[in-house]
Chain length 158, copies 2
DNA sequence: GGTGTGGGTTCTGAAGCGGAACTCGGTGGG
DNA sequence: CCCACCGAGTTCCGCTTCAGAACCCACACC
């Protein structure tokens, strides 16, 4: 049996959200869906699978299960900050589908809300003050300097 | 039998690469793996599954199957430009795993090759010359004005 | 006290996945 | 000429996961 303890970050990420539904659940949550039945209706997912996926996402820190009323104890599932941090991945997948899987029936694009311009997504180096493509990416151990707090936040850009 | 013809870009993307192996196959291809047996050995994937995944990725335009020698006819699988265009999604998933699924054993980060600074990834609006977070994203039809549901509820900050 | 609602759990099949063994064309060595 | 070998799959079998529908249960409302 597979003793591969999925050691790379990508493998661990895919263990958590790399199935057919988790990403769609997260997208629904980003749109404001919170309750079990709303997820089920919105996604068309089988309810037992939804139970399992939500449980796994909660255990993985992507979502949180909070009571929203007491007496009939009812819960809602919200994205944690870690869950919201998956947005760039979602957006990348959506954009890729838009540009490379167009069926001609629904040309929908993601835009910057305030101005309506189609958004772009790229890699940005703070030091060089430049954007760059995938060929300039290198993986590197961070043992010497555990600088983990970079977080893509609203900034003024390149 | 789900007759849902997966109409949104995200659903179509996940139909193609939203299984347990496709993303890992694409990562291996980005690292230079090209041949059937090399994929099998590198990933530890069962060979019948690898056959199916490679076939689907070729049909989906993500990879191309080209002969690399004639007389014993042998083929290699390369990423197409569309396949390389999935890099931002891969990088987003890798970075998320690095930052939110750290097990303390392998702190590896992605850096800008030339200078070694950890890369950032964000949404960029050419018109406003600014980067922004997920709450400022809106989905909009590319042909007409924004009639597609605003797709965004109020959320706590990113 | 019956009905409705939200949030699940049990039951079935039907897919998909994993492992090993087998096939098939061609090549190279003895 | 014969046999081993290599790359690229395909078959066969067993196990795990998924999908669908039905069912359960605690409570609230009428």
């Amino acid at each position: 049996m597979g003793e591969r303890t999925e050691h790379t970050p990508l493998e661990r990420t895919l263990q958590l959200v790399g199935d057919r539904w988790s990403i769609l659940i997260i997208r629904a949550a980003l749109r404001g869906v919170r309750r079990f039945d709303d997820f089920a209706a919105d996604l068309g997912i089988a309810r037992p699978i939804l139970t399992k996926r939500l449980t796994r996402l909660v255990e993985g820190g992507v979502m949180a299960k909070d009571p929203y009323q007491e007496h009939p104890p009812r819960y809602e599932y919200r994205l944690t900050p870690a869950g919201v941090a998956l947005s760039p991945a979602l957006v990348a997948l959506i954009r890729w589908g838009e540009h490379h899987l167009a069926d001609g029936d629904s040309p929908i694009v993601l835009v910057h809300g305030p101005c309506g311009t189609e958004l772009e997504q790229g890699f940005w180096c703070r030091t060089c003050a430049t954007t760059f493509g995938p060929t300039a990416i290198r993986a590197q151990s961070a043992t010497t300097q555990p600088e983990h707090d970079s977080a893509q936040r609203d900034r003024t850009g390149p």
